[in-house]
């Protein structure tokens, strides 16, 4: 998917971060500035120790004054780091909020049946995955900036005192990324050879926990445990085989920085003792300079270590960035519902007619043409036809939940379009095949927070027995999967909602599918009661009992 995208993952990240690029740059520069205070601290220590060894050679600085200077400079460093991190965190927050808000708002307006990603997938992307952008902004970005600037600056500073020290650092420094890259490739190969998938251990566990009831019924709990143990042990051995190669890369970093420091120490030592007389631009090396150079050396390598430590943050953010980009592109391409989905003033109503409709039932499906139709107020009409013929698709289009490829839908004198959609839907009730409830009370579900006759609605839908059977009655919270009520009961509750709302038109999608005859009869009775209350019904179904209970049927079969 990402191949067809014109932007590389890196460009995508940069685009996401663009509105915050100023803050991110400022954060990076502050962290660079903080790192550059170290040479000053090193000079202070150099002067203190230099004065103790060879009074008079360099400017004098007492240990106490030097220590105070050292701590004071450290405080400045801490303050700069603090500011850098604060800026980075603020930028990260803004980037993440922006990305999340955009994705939520766009994904929520996709037409039904047109979702580019499953809701669970989208929700995971919005929540956990996008959180990976934070460490990228707060840790990787400033460490990248430091790695580009600080070693170079230290090299120049070291070179002003001794070109030999600069040379040692110059050789050791750039060798690190080369070796790390080589080892990184070897590690990649090793992990491919060992076939280690990230999260494999978790899948092993999840699989068994999800199957726990089955395992118990099969008396296989002990056996499954042994298998899990063996597999985990096997995976551990293979993981260690990969790590043995992968850890070489950080060892190279350690090795070169340790050797760099050791060589600087030895060179400085030999120079000070008087056995070496080169590399200091002619002047003899003073003890203060020696200490200074020794302290610079390890910090020369520090930005590289920081960058290596933050490399994982970069990789994670790149992966999330391209996933986000793919999701956004696909959501952009998916069709949207008409209008905003907000509340509206109901339209005048009248005869509902549709003409020349061509609809796309799913994202990549070819459009299907549907026969024209009209439904008068108060009528009860069944839309019939075999599954897949477009019954659900037609209902979605009539509710403005799906844009049609061509054709018009009118209700009285009003035409359904993006402007009228919210008001259009204010006159509709909706009974989906699989009701999904938000985490709300039964009362909230039925009343939608509006005033009305709740008892009347429940008795008209003959739904009191459902309420009576639930421990919390009307205050029972249903949760996402409708916990506590069966599919048939959920539909009867939604019929009670239609009675309560008294909107002039109800669209119902296969309201009796998968129900036993008793429950189906109750659902049909509830629908008939709605019709008797003067509400127009359009019901998609191939259940003969339900179709017979309607005034007439519109058959969708036979039209291609």
């Amino acid at each position: 998917m990402t191949d067809s995208s014109p932007q590389s993952p890196k460009q995508i990240l940069n685009r996401l971060a663009a509105p915050q690029s100023k803050r991110l740059r400022a954060s990076g520069w502050l962290s660079v500035l903080s790192a550059l205070i170290w040479p000053v601290q090193a000079a202070v220590v150099g002067l203190v120790l230099g004065h103790l060894v060879a009074p008079g050679v360099s400017p004098a600085l007492s240990p106490l004054a030097g220590a105070l200077c050292f701590v004071a400079l450290a405080l400045v460093r801490i303050a700069l780091d603090w500011a850098a991190q604060k800026l980075g965190a603020d930028a990260a927050e803004a980037i993440v909020i922006h990305a999340r808000s955009r994705l939520v708002a766009q994904a929520a307006r996709q037409a039904t049946g047109a979702a580019a990603l499953s809701p669970a997938h989208s929700a995971a992307l919005v929540a956990e995955k996008l959180a990976a952008l934070t460490p990228w902004a707060t840790r990787y970005q400033p460490s990248f900036m430091r790695a580009r600037i600080v070693p170079l600056a230290f090299l120049v500073i070291a070179a002003t005192q001794s070109w030999v020290v600069a040379l040692i650092l110059l050789i050791a420094g750039p060798l690190i990324p080369i070796f790390m890259a080589l080892i990184g490739m070897a590690a990649q190969q090793a992990s491919e050879k060992q076939m280690i998938e990230i999260g494999a251990l978790n899948s092993l566990l999840i699989d068994r926990i999800a199957a726990m009831s089955d395992l118990r019924l099969l008396g296989a709990e002990g056996r499954a445990r042994e298998v899990l143990k063996d597999k985990t042990e096997d995976l551990r051995r293979r993981t260690m085989a990969v790590l043995r190669v992968a850890f070489l890369s950080s060892t190279v970093l350690e090795l070169f920085s340790a050797l760099g420091v050791a060589m600087v120490a030895m060179y400085v030592g030999f120079s000070l003792i008087g056995w070496m007389h080169f590399g200091t631009w002619g002047a003899p090396m003073t003890p203060a300079t020696g200490i200074f150079l020794l302290m610079i050396a390890p910090e020369f390598f520090q930005p590289l270590r920081d960058l290596a430590a933050a490399w994982h943050d970069r990789a994670a953010a790149l992966a999330v960035g391209s996933e986000l980009d793919t999701a956004e592109t696909e959501i952009e391409a998916a069709r949207k519902i008409l209008g905003d989905g907000g509340a509206g003033q109901p339209l005048a109503g009248g005869i509902l007619r549709w003409q020349g409709l061509r609809l796309r039932p799913a994202r990549d499906a070819a459009p299907i043409a549907l026969p024209d139709g009209a439904v008068a107020p108060g009528e009860a009409v069944a839309i019939t036809g075999p599954s897949g013929v477009g019954k659900t698709t037609l209902l979605s289009a009539l509710a403005g939940l799906l844009e049609s490829e061509s054709g018009t839908i009118e209700w009285g004198t009003d035409v359904l379009d993006a402007q009228s959609a919210d008001a259009w839907r204010a006159g509709l009730g909706w009974l989906p095949q699989v009701p999904r409830f938000a985490d709300t009370s039964l009362r909230g579900l039925i009343t939608l927070g509006r005033e009305g006759d709740l008892d009347g609605a429940l008795s008209a839908a003959a739904a009191q027995d459902i309420i009576a059977g639930l421990p919390g009655g009307l205050e029972t919270r249903l949760g996402d999967m409708g916990g506590g009520v069966s599919g048939g009961e959920a539909r009867r509750l939604l019929i009670a909602r239609a009675h309560y709302a008294r909107r002039p038109l109800l669209l119902a999608d296969e309201p009796t599918a998968d129900l036993d005859p008793d429950t189906a009869a109750k659902v049909i009775a509830g629908l008939v009661a709605l019709r008797e209350a003067g509400i127009t019904l359009i019901v998609a179904s191939h259940d003969p009992a339900l179709v017979a209970a309607m005034d007439r049927a519109i058959a969708l079969e036979g039209v291609a």
């Binding site: 060894v53 780091d81 999840i206 726990m212 996402d480």
Partner: protein, 569 residues
């Protein structure tokens, strides 16, 4: 914090050897780092002094020492990382096993809840959160403490007690005290941030799933706004965590600077007054500087401590699930008793006002198929779970082979009775691995029996095309269609060769012909077994010998009418 310490102790005790060798090497690496910088500082300063005074200095041995320490430290670091990761992987493997054991001991209905996507997600993210417990918290803390103690002794010996003590005290207060302070503050904040993140996910999920319904009821815009509010709320919670992280960084920076500054001031004064040489004074400063590594390593662990505490508390709670009550007596099956005898059986959920089902009465004999009917929500699945011994009986009696259900020890019961739940689960791996779960521990899967079982559910040919027993299934057994998974679960249960087989919607997702063939295949394979089938499909009803209706709740109104109608078969 006590949760984490308890958990860490548990993990360490199980992997003593792996843990202690990792810890010792971590300490050695820290010590070598301090020695390297201290020796380098001494070397440079001493050389400076020798250069000025002209006093001879053996520089070769110390410089060889510097080289050796540099190489040794890099090698040690490599070994340390390997060993600590190895110890962590082993500890996490133990943790996963105890999680599994804990879930296995939970009551049936809770297990059903735990296998929801949300709960599974949380469980794995909890285990993942704990991978830093040994690696980034316990090992660095102990190794750092050991390095500090070693440094205290070295500095005492080389310089003076005040230098050693002040460095030690500053690190103790800054590192140790800082850690405790962070641990206290972080848990609450990490919990808030995690709850906020969950809220984003839940709200988004509800929004996206219900978007059609919300749009029609005119609530889509307001629900989008509610989701966006969760996004801002999470950012607020996150901000306090970030601020805490900054404070950790500042405390560590200040600790290091104060320790090095104190060493410089005290040892420097001693050198200035001639008590020690300047070179020895340098050692104190450089060692104090190098010890910064011991707290730096803790930094990431400290940033994660809140999340670890939350995750640890949940994991420990699951892992500590008490053993299932053991059946008080041994089972004494009666030879000629009916397979199942159920008298006035009912089940009431704790706290509910009425029973889920009540007054169930029937007998099941060898070779018989019983069909349990009832409207949706009448408690058919619950009834099967009670018959299978997964749920306790509330009233009435149920005996299996003449012995009361509750008197059967778990393993004995499973030898005679099994059930295929409506949402039966397969596991990732080969078909053979899935079937092998049905075989008693210590026995091998018989190729012949397995083939017969697959043939009985007409799955042999379907699977043969995909590699037969070696056909791979993905996580959760995905890769097969719904109907194929169901049939594989049926075959797996049939391999147990049970006396009683309880089937919940066994033909869901199968076309009529396959459904019929599958049930007949099972019957032919297990001619002596008694079947109890719950299904809403009429072909299954035709297959049964007898039918029993289960009515929902309110037994006062609808007495469970046990219209046992024996058909002519």
């Amino acid at each position: 914090m006590s949760v984490l310490l308890g958990l860490a102790w548990r993990l360490i005790v199980q992997q003593k050897w792996a843990f202690s060798r990792g810890l010792i090497l971590s300490f050695i690496v820290l010590a070598m780092g301090a020695a390297l910088l201290g020796l380098s500082g001494w070397l440079v300063t001493a050389a400076g002094a020798a250069g000025i005074t002209g006093i001879a200095l053996n520089i070769f041995e110390p410089s060889a020492g510097v080289r050796g320490l540099a190489l040794g430290r890099a090698a040690g670091r490599y070994g340390e990382r390997l060993l600590t990761h190895d110890a962590t992987l082993r500890a996490l493997a133990d943790l996963r096993l105890s999680l599994m054991d804990g879930v296995a001991r939970r009551p049936h209905e809770e297990q059903a809840r735990l296998r929801g996507a949300e709960a599974l997600n949380r469980m794995t993210s909890d285990v993942d959160a704990l991978d830093g417990l040994l690696l980034r918290l316990i090992v660095p803390f102990l190794a750092g403490g050991m390095a500090q103690l070693a440094a205290l002794l070295m500095l005492w010996w080389l310089e003076s007690l005040p230098v050693g003590l002040s460095v030690f005290a500053i690190y103790l207060i800054g590192g140790g005290g800082g850690l405790i302070w962070v641990a206290r503050a972080a848990r609450h904040q990490a919990r808030a941030a995690e709850t906020a993140l969950q809220a984003i996910r839940t709200r988004t999920l509800e929004l996206l799933r219900g978007r059609a319904d919300l749009a029609v009821s005119g609530q889509l815009q307001s629900e989008i706004n509610r989701a966006l509010e969760e996004v801002t709320a999470e950012a607020r919670a996150r901000r306090t965590l970030e601020a805490l992280d900054r404070r950790i960084g500042a405390v560590i920076g200040l600790t290091t600077a104060l320790a090095a500054g104190a060493a410089l001031a005290i040892a420097g004064q001693m050198a200035a007054s001639g008590q020690i040489t300047p070179a020895r004074a340098a050692i104190g400063f450089f060692v104090a500087l190098a010890l910064a590594e011991s707290v730096m390593l803790l930094r990431r662990g400290m940033a994660e401590i809140g999340r670890m505490q939350e995750a640890g508390a949940r994991v420990v709670e699951l892992a500590r699930t008490p053993e299932r009550p053991i059946a008080p007596t041994q089972a004494h099956p009666v030879a000629d008793a009916p397979l199942l005898r159920v008298r006035d059986l009912s089940f009431t959920r704790p706290g509910a006002s009425g029973p889920v089902f009540a007054e169930l009465n029937f007998e099941l004999h060898r070779g018989e198929t019983l069909f349990l009917t009832g409207p949706s929500g009448a408690g058919k699945s619950t009834a099967l779970a009670v018959l299978a011994g997964l749920l306790p009986t509330s009233e009435g009696t149920c005996s299996v082979l003449g012995e009361t259900l509750a008197h059967w020890p778990e393993t004995d019961l499973r030898r005679h009775l099994t059930m295929v739940p409506q949402r039966s689960q397969l596991i990732g791996g080969s078909v053979a691995e899935n079937l092998a779960l049905a075989v008693p521990a210590g026995e091998l899967l018989s190729q012949k029996a397995a083939e017969a079982a697959l043939r009985a559910v007409s799955l042999d040919r379907v699977l043969a095309a995909r590699g037969g027993f070696e056909a791979r299934l993905n996580e959760g057994g995905s890769g097969l269609s719904g109907g194929q998974s169901k049939r594989l679960a049926l075959a797996r249960a049939a391999l147990r060769n049970p006396d009683i087989l309880l089937l919940d919607e066994p033909t869901e997702g199968l076309d009529a012909a396959t459904a019929r063939a599958t049930l007949e295949g099972l019957r032919a394979l297990l001619p002596e077994a008694g079947f109890v089938i719950v299904s809403h499909r009429s072909p299954d009803r035709d297959f049964a010998d007898r039918e029993i209706a289960l009515t929902r709740r309110c037994p006062a109104q609808h007495r469970a009418k046990n219209t046992s109608r024996r058909k002519n078969t």
